[in-house]
C-alpha cells in the first residue's frame, strides 16, 4: 500500500519531523511511525496545515513524501527520505532520535 506523509524540519532544533493530525490539532513528531498517512486527495489540506505551522515558526520547508507500509511500518520509498527518517546509514551518527514531540 502506498500513501504519503508530510515532513519538514523543526525550525528551532533542525531535526526532521513528520505531521500527525489529531482532529483539529496537529503535531510535528520525530518518529515517522507516528506520522499520519495521507491519501492523495488529502494532501492539499495537510500541506495547508503545514503552511500554518510555517507561519507559526514551528517548522520550515514542509513537503509530501511517498511511503509504503511494509510489515506494518511506514517506510519512505526513496533512499533520501529513508535517510531523513532513520538517520545516516554509516559512521558515528548512531541516531537515537528523540521520539518526543518536536
Amino acid at each position: 500500500m502506498t500513501a504519503s506523509v508530510i515532513t519538514a524540519s523543526s525550525l528551532a532544533l533542525g531535526h526532521v519531523v513528520y505531521l500527525r493530525l489529531e482532529g483539529a490539532c496537529c503535531r510535528w513528531l520525530s518518529d515517522i511511525q507516528a506520522a499520519t498517512l495521507l491519501k492523495e486527495e488529502d494532501l492539499d489540506a495537510a500541506l495547508a496545515r503545514a503552511a500554518e505551522a510555517v507561519a507559526e515558526n514551528e517548522i520550515i520547508d514542509p513537503y509530501a513524501v511517498a511511503v509504503e507500509i511494509r510489515d506494518g511500518r511506514i517506510e519512505p520509498l526513496s533512499l533520501r527520505e529513508r535517510i531523513r527518517a532513520h538517520g545516516p546509514t554509516t559512521g558515528d551518527a548512531k541516531i537515537a532520535l528523540s521520539r518526543s514531540a518536536a
Binding site: S9, L11, A12, L13, G14, H15, V16, V54, A55, E56, N57, I60, D61, S78, L79, R80, I83, R84, G87, P88, T89, T90, G91, D92, A93
Partner: protein
C-alpha cells in the same frame, strides 16, 4: 599563530550578538526564512538533510590544542560527540540546534574561532599548504599572507554579496600542496630573479559541474601589491560575474567567457586605480604579521635517536608508519607527522570528541601545541622530535590514529554525501568504506603506491573527485544511486581533470571496479611509476577493459 587583538574580539562579540538577535527574530517570526537564510549562511549555518550544520573556519588549517579541546567540548555539549574535517580545512558539526548556535559561536569566540563567511556568496576560508612554515621545500611561509588576506576579506563591505562563493588558496612551497590550480584564486609565493618575494597569481580554477584548471593571471606580483591586486580581481568579478544563473556565476565562467587576456586587462585597469591606495602593504605591515608566526623554540637534535633508528629498522609496523607518515622537517632533529583520519569503518575526516582531546594532548606533549588540518581531511602534528616518534606512534596506534596510508589508495577524500547533505544525489561514505575495506592489506596498498581516490556525492565535487587519480561521482539514475568513475585527475603542480571511463556503476560494483583499475595499473606499470604516470602513458583503454569486460 595569529593572536586576536581587542578589535578582533570586539568584532566577534558584536557579530555574535547580532546573530543571536537574528536567531531570536527568526524564531519569533519577525524574520521569515527567506530573509533569515542569507544571514544564517553568512554565519556558517546550513540546513542539511537531517539537521542544521555549522561550518567553523580553521584559517589556513591551523589549530591550537586549546582550540581543539574547545571543538571537542562543543561536539559533546551541542552536537553528537563528533565533528567532520572538510576539504577546505574547516570543521563541520552536523547536528546543532539553531537555538544553541549563538552559544556555540560564543564558545568558539573564547578561543578565537568563528564561522563567519564559511558559507554564502562571499570570500570563504583562506586555505594553505598544511606544511606551512616547516616544509623543506618552502619558498616562504604562506601563513602571514593568508592572515593578511583573511583580515582584508572578513566583512569586506564590497564583497559581501558576490555573484557566488569565492575560494582562495595559498602555497608557499615549490611543490603545491594546497590545490591552488583549482581555486577561484590560487596564489603561489615565488621569488623573482632579483630574489624578491612575490606572488604568481592563478585565477578561474574550480571543480563542480564545470571543472577548470586555473590560468595564470600574473606571473609575478610584488609583495606590497597583494591586497590591492586581489581587490581589483574581486571588483572585476563582482561587477561582471553572472547573477542570473547560479550555475554560471563562479569566476571561472567569467574568465572563460572573456578569455584570460581580456579578463587580465580589466583587472589591470582596475588595479591602476587601487595600486597606490591604503591597500598597499608596507614592510612594517608584513613584518608585523610575520611576527605572529615565529619559529618555535626548537631544541637541538637529540644526541640519542637509537630507539627510533632501531625500531624503524626492526619493527615492520613502525618502519612502515615512519616511512609513510613522517615527513622531513626543515628543522634538523624534527619530523612532521601525518595523522590519518581514514580509518577502517569510520567516515573519512570524522573525529570524535575524545579523539580531539587526545590529539590536543599529543600536540602539547610532543610538539608546541599546534595541529594542522589538511585539505585531504587528515591532521598533522607539525613539530615532533625524531627521538620521540616511537612513543608518539604507540600512542597514536592505541587511538587508531596511526594508519600508514598517507597518499595511498585508502587515503580517500569523501564528502558527507547523501547521508548528510541536502544537495547530494548519492551516498559517498559507504562506498568509501567498501573500497577501503577491499584494500585493507597494507602490503598491497604500499605496493600500489601513490594514488589519490576521491568520492563526491554530487556534481558539486566537494570531495574534489575531478582532480583525483581515481575520481568517483555518485549520481541519481531513476531513483538509484550509481557511480561514474573518472581517471587521470591530479590536484598538484601537474593539475589535470579526470576523464570519465564509461557508464556509471551501481554501488556494489564499485569496489570491484576499483580493483580492476588497480590490476590494470599493476599490469601496465613500468618500474616504480605512480598510477598517474602509468595512466598518462597508456591512456584509459587498459582500465576500461578491466572495468567493463
Amino acid at each position: 599563530m595569529y593572536r586576536y587583538d581587542e578589535f578582533d574580539h570586539r568584532l566577534l562579540s558584536q557579530r555574535i550578538d547580532q546573530f543571536r538577535d537574528q536567531v531570536a527574530r527568526r524564531l519569533s517570526g519577525q524574520l521569515d526564512e527567506d530573509a533569515f537564510r542569507p544571514l544564517r549562511l553568512r554565519n556558517g549555518v546550513y540546513l542539511q538533510l537531517n539537521a542544521y550544520m555549522l561550518r567553523v573556519n580553521i584559517p589556513y588549517g591551523l589549530l591550537s590544542s586549546v582550540q581543539m579541546r574547545r571543538l571537542a567540548d562543543i561536539a559533546e555539549r551541542y552536537d553528537r560527540g563528533y565533528g567532520h574535517f572538510s576539504t577546505r580545512q574547516n570543521i563541520q558539526f552536523n547536528w546543532p540546534r539553531l537555538v544553541d548556535i549563538p552559544d556555540m559561536l560564543a564558545a568558539l569566540a573564547e578561543v578565537e574561532m568563528h564561522a563567519m563567511q564559511s558559507s554564502g556568496n562571499c570570500i570563504r576560508n583562506i586555505t594553505a599548504d598544511h606544511l606551512a612554515g616547516i616544509a623543506a621545500d618552502e619558498v616562504a611561509d604562506p601563513r602571514p599572507y593568508c592572515e593578511i588576506i583573511r583580515q582584508w576579506s572578513t566583512l569586506h563591505p564590497e564583497f559581501s554579496f558576490l555573484p557566488r562563493k569565492f575560494k582562495i588558496a595559498v602555497s608557499g612551497a615549490s611543490r603545491d600542496r594546497a590545490a591552488v590550480h583549482v581555486h577561484d584564486i590560487g596564489i603561489r609565493i615565488v621569488r623573482n630573479e632579483a630574489g624578491e618575494t612575490g606572488f604568481h597569481i592563478l585565477v578561474g580554477g574550480g571543480l563542480g559541474r564545470t571543472p577548470v584548471i586555473g590560468k595564470t593571471l600574473r606571473e609575478f606580483l610584488p609583495e606590497a601589491d597583494l591586497l590591492s591586486y586581489l581587490e581589483a580581481v574581486l571588483r572585476v568579478y563582482n561587477r561582471h560575474g553572472r547573477r542570473d544563473n547560479k550555475y554560471k556565476a563562479r569566476i571561472k565562467i567569467l574568465v572563460n567567457d572573456l578569455g584570460i587576456e581580456a579578463f587580465a586587462a580589466l583587472v589591470e585597469e582596475e588595479w591602476q586605480r587601487l595600486r597606490h591606495s591604503a591597500l598597499r602593504l608596507g614592510r612594517a605591515d608584513i613584518e608585523r604579521m610575520k611576527a605572529h608566526f615565529p619559529r618555535p623554540d626548537y631544541l637541538p637534535p637529540a644526541n640519542d635517536t637509537s630507539e627510533y633508528e632501531a625500531l624503524r629498522r626492526d619493527d615492520p609496523a613502525f618502519g612502515r608508519w615512519a616511512r609513510n607518515a613522517v615527513f622531513s622537517h626543515r628543522q634538523p632533529g624534527y619530523g612532521i607527522v601525518m595523522v590519518s583520519l581514514k580509518r577502517s569503518g569510520r567516515p573519512t575526516g570524522d573525529m570524535r570528541a575524545d579523539e580531539m582531546r587526545a590529539m590536543a594532548r599529543l600536540a602539547d606533549e610532543y610538539g608546541f601545541g599546534e595541529i594542522r588540518v589538511t585539505h585531504r581531511q587528515n591532521l598533522v602534528l607539525p613539530d615532533v622530535p625524531l627521538h620521540r616518534l616511537p612513543s608518539l606512534w604507540r600512542e597514536l596506534a592505541a587511538l587508531d590514529l596511526a594508519t600508514p596510508n598517507h597518499g595511498l589508495l585508502s587515503d580517500i577524500i569523501a564528502c558527507p554525501g547523501m547521508d548528510y547533505c541536502s544537495l547530494a544525489t548519492a551516498r559517498s561514505i559507504p562506498v568509501a568504506q567498501a573500497i577501503a575495506e577491499r584494500f585493507e592489506d597494507l602490503d598491497y596498498l604500499h605496493d600500489i603506491g601513490d594514488l589519490s581516490l576521491n568520492i563526491s556525492g554530487c556534481i558539486n565535487s566537494c570531495a574534489h573527485h575531478n582532480v583525483a587519480n581515481i575520481g568517483i561521482l555518485g549520481v541519481d539514475k531513476r531513483g538509484q544511486e550509481v557511480y561514474q568513475i573518472t581517471l587521470g585527475g591530479s590536484s598538484g603542480d601537474d593539475a589535470s581533470i579526470g576523464k570519465r571511463i564509461g557508464p556509471a556503476l551501481p554501488a556494489e560494483k564499485v569496489p570491484e571496479a576499483i580493483e580492476g583499475i588497480v590490476d590494470a595499473f599493476l599490469a601496465e606499470r613500468e618500474g616504480d611509476e605512480r598510477f598517474i604516470d602509468t595512466y598518462r602513458r597508456v591512456g584509459d583503454q587498459p582500465f576500461k577493459e578491466r572495468v567493463y569486460a
